[in-house]
Amino acid sequence: MRPTDRKYLKSHEWCKIENGIATLGITDFAVSHLSDLVFLDLPNKGASVTAGESFGEIESVKAVSSLYSPVSGEVIDCNKNLPDNLEWLAQDPFNKSWMIKVKVTAQSKALIDAAAYETQCQAEG
């Protein structure tokens, strides 16, 4: 089971909300399916993100994937060292590899808990 202290999107982002601040990242399932990561584009501090819309891109040797935001709000912090250390994503996707922190004004209705996300991953194989 993946961490139960946070919620997930079916598009494999995780979202941990504490005191109105959401920390976003992607799951180990996403990392293993993307494989061979080469580039990560994250928004800067001060940018605004919208629930259900793209907040960045992650590129592997063969493909580019959008990162979808589970929340709306202002980006108040960004894991600046992550793009230069993409191996962290495979090593520790749920802690060290957080991507951005957002001051939440709204949440996606599509967020699911860890158990439902588990079922989703099993269905995708």
């Binding site: 494989s35 061979d36 080469v38 580039f39 584009d41 891109e57 590129e59 040797v61 063969k62 580019v64």
Partner: protein, 363 residues
């Protein structure tokens, strides 16, 4: 989804499997760039069971093929192979194919793309109505495995009968592997030396295992479709759905060398009109970029802020150590050295037109 005879072997080897043109295929066993380097430096083994395989025979087999496709089949000697295209009446590419004339000169063998197999067979059967010819889909009755890389000949010679050093590029022969009669061609889709082997279905596993055992000491490993795409792109070979598709003709794709005007093929009149009009105004070119982002399929290309084309394929090239792309651009922007921008997430990144192929092996 269809599976080749080797699907469980790929899974046992730890492959990541994907749906490719309706087939459950290995995209990679190891990091893609490492797999590509193995093929450039040593040798790699590919399951190509998904490719379409068609036997063409009968009294008018040659005349049928002359009508069906763009190359001059009459000029193919027995045991030799040519690259060609199937077009529609508008001169638009339906598929790119290899046409093999049988070594005994008793018919032909055609290899087509997995994603186009059903459509190609439909076109073939429609064209065949005017000819005394048999079009036989052998995709289910034959397996297909390729070995590619500089060590291909020495590895294959350990298990195949006959002197492979005598087999020329784009030639094929009958041989036996593990005591089973099969055919072997000096062809491939990587830009390296190598062979494609066609065996009776049911023998795929035995042949795969024989290759692996024969090549283990030389570093032969299984290679997935991800590296296959990188390798073909570096070598300047088109991929249907990227450089060629339902919107392109062979002239703008730079494939006029595979179009012979001495016979009446489907789409010829339309292509002649394109020629008479001086082309379509655009051309397929190669690009390289040292930007952090890789130019990818569909990205717009700009010259001084104005759109002049779009990217067909983009890859990180482990052999050239840069980003490579193929793209259709306006003819006035197609000269090597022309500086363009590709647009990714509203940001312009620099790239430059270069000659293709990006990579050519030393012979």
């Amino acid at each position: 989804m269809q599976s080749t005879a080797l699907a469980s072997t790929h899974i046992a080897l730890g492959a990541r499997m994907v749906d490719f043109a309706g087939w459950n295929m290995p995209v990679q066993y190891r990091p893609i760039l490492d797999e590509a380097k193995t093929v450039r430096g040593k040798a790699g083994l590919f399951d190509l069971g998904h490719m379409g395989r068609v036997k063409v025979h009968g009294r008018q087999a040659e005349a049928f093929l002359q009508r069906l496709q763009t190359n001059d089949v009459a000029a193919i000697p027995p045991g030799r192979i040519r690259y060609a295209m199937i077009l529609n009446d508008q001169g638009i590419t339906q598929d790119d194919i290899l046409v093999y004339r049988n070594p005994r000169n008793d018919g032909f063998f055609v290899v087509i793309n997995a994603g186009n197999t059903a459509r190609d067979l439909g076109i073939m059967r429609a064209v065949a109505k005017g000819f005394d010819v048999v079009v036989e889909d052998c995709t289910p009755s034959l397996g297909m495995i390729a070995i590619q890389g500089p060590l291909s000949q020495q590895i294959t010679q350990r298990i195949a009968a006959g002197d492979l050093s005598q087999l020329k590029y784009y030639a094929w022969m009958e041989t036996t592997v593990c005591g089973v009669p099969m055919t072997l061609s000096r062809t491939g889709y990587t830009g390296e030396d190598g062979f494609e082997v066609y065996m009776p279905s049911g023998k795929e596993q035995a042949v795969w295992d024989a290759f692996m055992a024969a090549g283990a000491a030389d570093g032969l490993t299984a290679i997935g479709l991800g590296a296959r795409d990188t390798l073909r792109h570096e070598a300047g070979m088109p991929l249907y759905g990227h450089e060629i598709d339902e919107t392109t003709n062979p002239l703008e794709a730079g494939l006029d060398w595979a179009v012979k005007w001495n016979h009446d093929f489907v789409g010829k009149q339309a292509l002649e009109k394109v020629l008479a009009a001086g082309g379509t105004g655009r051309k397929l070119v190669g690009l390289t970029s040292d930007a952090k982002r890789c130019p990818r399929q569909g990205y717009p290309l700009q010259k001084d802020g104005a759109k002049v084309g779009h990217v067909c394929s983009g890859n990180i090239s482990p052999t050239l150590d840069t980003n490579i792309a193929t793209a259709y651009v306006r003819v006035d922007c197609s000269a090597p050295g022309t500086k363009l921008d590709f647009v990714v997430r509203d940001k312009a990144e620099p790239c430059v037109v270069v000659p293709t192929p990006f990579y050519k092996r030393a012979r």
